[in-house]
């Protein structure tokens, strides 16, 4: 609503409706807009090349930005034609048809064939490896084979094998260091006696 009475009176004379519209602002202004505006404006001005140059050197800033070199007359209008004659033919020669050395399909077929040959080769190698070694110790069925070995053969074997020293593994060292009393403290006497009866070699008269 105009603040001047004169303008208001004039408006009322033309249109009372319009004169009665209150001056409620409809546009919003971002917060701090006016406070920040001068600084933003100065940043833009400082970005200007000419002003920047003037700040660094008033001498240079004050010079007319003119390059004094001479250019042959009609150079730019002739340049277009010159480029058409020299550039276009130079970079668009007639191209011969390109025949690829390896067609994709052939490469694919060759790859599959190579894979199959590789698989056959490796399988054959494994097969012949196994054929050369008819058995491995792990494959022997001890239960089935043992009855075929006589007692004399077993005895001869045991005599031929040197006594194997007990490996001092951590587990064995640990066992050796164990106190037997501690181990047996939870075992009932009756259970121990039953165990001894079952083991003839552990009868007291035999141990002593």
């Amino acid at each position: 609503m105009p603040s001047s009475k004169h303008i208001l009176n004039e408006l009322s004379a033309i249109s009372q409706t319009v004169a009665n519209i209150t001056d409620r602002p409809v546009f919003t202004v971002p917060e701090n807009y006016f406070a920040q505006f001068p600084e933003k404006l100065m940043s833009k001005i400082r970005e200007d090349a000419q002003y920047e140059t003037t700040l660094i050197s008033p001498l240079l800033g004050g010079l007319e930005r003119k390059t004094p070199f001479s250019v042959p007359e009609g150079y730019f209008s002739a340049l277009e034609d010159q480029l058409k004659k020299t550039v276009l033919p130079a970079v668009t020669p007639e191209t011969a048809p390109v025949i690829p050395m390896f067609r994709k399909r052939q490469v694919w077929k060759l790859s599959v064939a190579a894979m199959v040959a590789g698989i056959i080769g490796i399988s054959a190698w494994f097969y012949f490896q196994q054929a050369a070694a008819p058995f491995s110790p792990a494959q022997v069925n001890v239960k089935a084979e043992l009855p075929k070995v006589s007692e004399d053969e077993i005895a001869d074997f045991l005599l031929s094998v040197p006594e194997m020293p007990q490996a001092e593994t951590p587990q064995v060292a640990g066992l050796n260091n164990l106190n037997v009393e501690d181990m047996l403290k939870d075992v009932q006497d009756g259970e121990l006696q039953d165990f001894v009866k079952e083991m003839p070699d552990l009868q007291p008269e035999k141990l002593n």
């Binding site: 970005e47 200007d48 090349a49 000419q50 920047e52 140059t53 660094i56 050197s57 001498l59 240079l60 010079l63 007319e64 930005r65 003119k66 390059t67 004094p68 070199f69 001479s70 250019v71 042959p72 150079y75 730019f76 340049l79 277009e80 010159q82 480029l83 058409k84 020299t86 550039v87 276009l88 130079a90 970079v91």
Partner: protein, 183 residues
């Protein structure tokens, strides 16, 4: 910032084989003067600038189809022009088998060979001063002083940080001022 609508249309036309040559001609017409002056300020001699222009636009023809449009077209063109100009100057250096200082002396000689050369005029003194700068600094100065290019765009052309470019420009201006006042 991606390509302008006009450049987008030109690129679209270029990608169609039927309209490729027309689009290419339109691009040449649109950017030739800007690129020419950028090159000329670096290589000084018109015939050399023309040679470099040819090389630039051959590269444009070859590479435009793969242009990714993630930057302005003119940024890409300027980058090619800058690189071709530097390559040209490096080749000159090798041919002459002299140190860089002598090449800048050679450029000063080319300036002096211009029919309008007048060492007493400030604009020619400015050109002599510019030729004393290292190549890259010369490009920075020319882009900022003559083309009034924003540092953001310059950064994309020269692949250097804005901060480094601002510092380079500041030093370039000071060197030029010193040359003009003391010689």
């Amino acid at each position: 910032m991606s390509v302008t609508q006009d450049d987008k249309e030109l690129l679209h036309l270029f990608r169609d084989l039927k309209t490729r040559e027309q689009a290419y001609t339109a691009i040449v017409r649109k950017y030739q003067e800007k690129l020419y002056w950028h090159i000329r300020r670096l290589v000084v001699d018109h015939d050399d600038a023309n040679d470099v222009m040819q090389n630039v636009f051959i590269k444009v023809w070859k590479g435009l189809e793969n242009f990714r449009e993630d930057a302005q077209l003119y940024t890409w063109l300027y980058r090619i022009a800058s690189n071709e100009s530097i390559t040209f100057l490096e080749q000159q250096k090798r041919r002459a088998s002299v140190s860089f200082d002598d090449v800048s002396g050679g450029l000063a000689d080319k300036l002096a060979a211009d029919k309008d050369f007048d060492p007493n005029k400030l604009e020619w003194k400015l050109q002599l001063a510019i030729q004393q700068l290292p190549e890259k600094q010369r490009i920075v100065f020319n882009l900022r002083y003559y083309d009034e290019m924003p540092y953001e765009e310059m950064s994309k052309i020269l692949e250097t940080s804005e901060g480094a470019l601002k510092a380079s420009y500041h030093h370039a201006v000071k060197k030029i001022e010193d040359y003009i006042l003391n010689r």
